[in-house]
């Protein structure tokens, strides 16, 4: 007969207590693992738009941890930040979003004294029209949108009509679109011959008349993962941003990228500090760190987008500088989109939403 020191009920209770107690200890272990350091900078960025090495080098130099959250498109970013007190310190909006954000008083004016590396920027990116004097933003990367395709399956597309109209998709096969309303509408406008900034109701009507029937044939409206669909063979044509495709081509050279004959939009993504940050000094240090030539060149080569940092550009490899995906061969065909105001944006969103829901 087994000798039991305690009655069974008591043993069960003790065991249960130990389980619960250990369960309570475990999560604090997980959290303290990451919370070894004192403070954290929260970044809100596009996906795959910053390299681990950049973050690691910053974390080594300062006492700050970095946490990264991602968003899929500019609308999502604005909606999250609009709530105020979002909890983020630094974000990476496109240039038209920069205007939208500082008009909503969401950005902290930058103290240029704390960012000496600003001088490294190429002259055309200093004092840009969307943010005079670089008051709120620092250019991070610039890029464009085009059509990526699988070379072994399909001929290079020549026009936006190949992917945005019913006739084009029927001829070309499996297509994916991007979920960002403003960009898609802009290239749609260029497709119909209008300017990328012509957001009048008539022009919008023309664009959506083409997009509406075409939507049925689209495989997926991708949220910044069109390149994954392309890589996995789900689609043969993807509307995507050039840097994402540059990253993909580095892995899989059966992928090609073109900017259609009508041209495309060109945007500058910037780094900004949010107005309600509690780590303003560290945020400025981070921006300065990103503008460092060494860091900047390594970043540019990793993410495959074009860097506006002249000093960093000088340090990059010739393979990077001659990459036709990263640096389009016909830059004159690229049109920059200007922030059109909230009313125009609401029109665009309304129409885009009706497109999605129909």
């Amino acid at each position: 007969m087994k000798k039991e020191s305690l009655p069974y009920g008591k043993r069960l209770r003790r065991r249960a207590f130990l389980h619960v107690a250990s369960l309570a200890v475990v999560p604090t272990l997980f959290s303290s693992v990451a919370r070894g350091s004192s403070a954290t900078l929260h970044l809100y960025n596009w996906d795959d738009y910053i390299s681990e090495a950049t973050l690691a080098s910053f974390q080594q130099q300062t006492d700050y941890q970095i946490k990264l959250d991602v968003f899929a498109d500019g609308e999502e970013q604005f909606a999250k930040l609009k709530l105020g007190n979002s909890g983020y310190d630094i974000t990476f909006p496109s240039h038209d979003s920069v205007t939208r954000l500082f008009k909503s008083d969401l950005l902290l004016p930058l103290d240029h004294q704390l960012i000496p590396n600003l001088a490294n920027l190429a002259p055309e990116h200093q004092n840009p029209h969307y943010d005079l004097g670089n008051r709120y933003s620092v250019p991070y990367m610039w890029g464009t949108m085009g059509i990526a395709y699988r070379k072994s399956v399909i001929d290079p597309p020549t026009s936006w009509r190949d992917v945005l109209t019913l006739a084009g998709i029927a001829k070309n096969g499996r297509v994916s679109w991007l979920s960002e309303a403003t960009s898609m509408v802009s290239v749609g406008l260029m497709m119909t011959g209008a300017s990328a900034n012509d957001f009048s109701s008539a022009s919008l009507r023309k664009v959506f008349d083409e997009l509406q029937p075409a939507k049925k044939k689209v495989i997926k409206i991708a949220e910044d993962n069109g390149q994954d669909l392309l890589a996995a063979g789900e689609v043969d044509l993807a509307i995507e941003w050039n840097g994402d495709i540059a990253q993909l081509i580095a892995e899989d050279d059966d992928i090609g990228f073109v900017i259609p004959q009508e041209g495309s939009i060109y945007y500058v993504d910037c780094v900004c500090i949010l107005a309600d940050t509690r780590h303003a000094k560290a945020a400025h240090d981070f921006i300065n760190h990103v503008l460092n030539p060494q860091v900047g060149s390594e970043l540019a080569e990793y993410i495959g987008y074009a860097t506006p940092n002249a000093a960093a550009y000088a340090l990059t490899s010739s393979a990077y500088r001659n990459n036709p995906v990263t640096f389009p061969v016909n830059p004159e065909k690229l049109e920059i989109v200007v922030y059109p105001g909230e009313d125009a944006l609401r029109n665009i969103f309304r129409s885009w939403e009706q497109l999605l829901a129909s």
């Binding site: 498109d73 609308e75 999502e76 604005f78 909606a79 999250k80 609009k82 709530l83 909503s104 679109w177 309303a181 939507k215 049925k216 689209v218 495989i219 997926k220 409206i221 996995a232 063979g233 789900e234 909230e342 009313d343 944006l345 609401r346 969103f349 939403e353 009706q354 999605l356 829901a357 129909s358």
Partner: protein
């Protein structure tokens, strides 16, 4: 079934008729103790259920604004917008998809529940465990694993195409199949929803079937009925409470399962849940999002009241 516990069927009040001492009725006793016990959950519900619902009702009546998310001006334009194209179509589509999911789940789960309930007693626990174990993984992760299976280069297609090529190589006349389109379309969404909600179908039906009086089935067999007749006349009617509970448990969450559509659906598949999420996370249009939510709520309550009537009839 779960929901009847919230009704007053067989409540203590009927038992109180037996004897005053049988049921400690506290209504007449000290108010202080009563309030102490009732207060926590009443306060919590007031703050975190009633107030938020009032909040969305209030916001849905405001005008959307770009500067401050909503302007303090009352309007019913948001609800008017809900009735314009294309939103009613989205509502109908959501209800259709939810209904299809429910029916498919019931069809799949009923024989399964039968198999478990009518197997030997010992195996019940292990079979239920085996069925439930996959569902202890988060639904999101299960949907993600479905992505890997249903894709063009996913497991199913690899197997099917491999077989098809093998067969074609043997019989040259047969063409090789195209890859099956199982994802980013309606089929993908249905498969995802069914996979997500099937335990809600199995468990209530199992609970109901297991309480079935076996003697009735024995009697029916003795009287010479075939399986189908027995099923139709005996098993099905007696399992109806379980089936109705399962249907309700599946239908209502299915209307709002936007993440399944996000991950497995194509451009043509959009649920009301997706629209609401888009309003808050993309288009920054809170009043309209709130109006959509309230409409969704009303839809759900309508469905609920209809099935409640049905359940009342079943329970008699």
């Amino acid at each position: 079934m779960p929901y009847e516990i919230f009704s007053d069927h067989g409540n203590s009040s009927s038992r109180a008729d037996d004897s005053f001492l049988a049921m400690p009725d506290w209504s007449s006793r000290s108010l202080r103790v009563n309030s102490l016990i009732a207060a926590p959950h009443v306060v919590w519900l007031s703050i975190f259920v009633i107030l938020p619902l009032c909040a969305i009702l209030f916001i849905s009546l405001l005008l959307p604004s770009s500067a401050t998310t909503y302007e303090p001006r009352l309007t019913v334009s948001n609800y008017a917008q809900v009735f314009q194209e294309p939103y009613p179509a989205v509502f109908l589509f959501s209800i259709l998809i939810a209904a299809s999911t429910t029916i498919i789940c019931l069809l799949i789960a009923f024989p399964l529940a039968l198999a478990i309930a009518f197997s030997s007693e010992r195996r019940h626990f292990f079979l239920l465990l085996a069925i439930c174990m996959p569902f202890w993984i988060s639904t999101l992760i299960r949907m993600y694993s479905l992505q890997e299976i249903l894709g063009r280069q996913g497991v199913i297609n690899k197997v099917v195409l491999g077989l098809s090529e093998f067969v074609s190589s043997m019989i040259p006349m047969l063409p090789v199949l195209d890859p099956l389109e199982l994802i980013y379309n309606r089929i993908g969404v249905l498969i995802g929803l069914v996979y997500a909600f099937i335990p809600f179908a199995i468990l209530p039906m199992y609970a109901s079937l297991v309480r079935l009086d076996r003697k009735l089935i024995e009697a029916s067999r003795d009287l010479g009925a075939t399986f189908f007749t027995t099923a139709r006349k005996i098993i099905l009617p007696l399992a109806l409470p379980g089936i109705s509970a399962a249907a309700t448990l599946i239908f209502i969450p299915a209307i709002g399962a936007f993440y399944v559509v996000d991950m497995l659906g194509g451009p043509e598949e959009l649920l009301i849940g997706n629209l609401v999420q888009l309003q808050f996370h993309e288009f920054n249009n809170w009043p309209f999002g709130a109006a959509l939510s309230v409409s969704m709520l009303i839809c759900t309550l309508l469905v609920w009241s209809v099935t409640a009537r049905l359940r009342a009839k079943i329970y008699g």
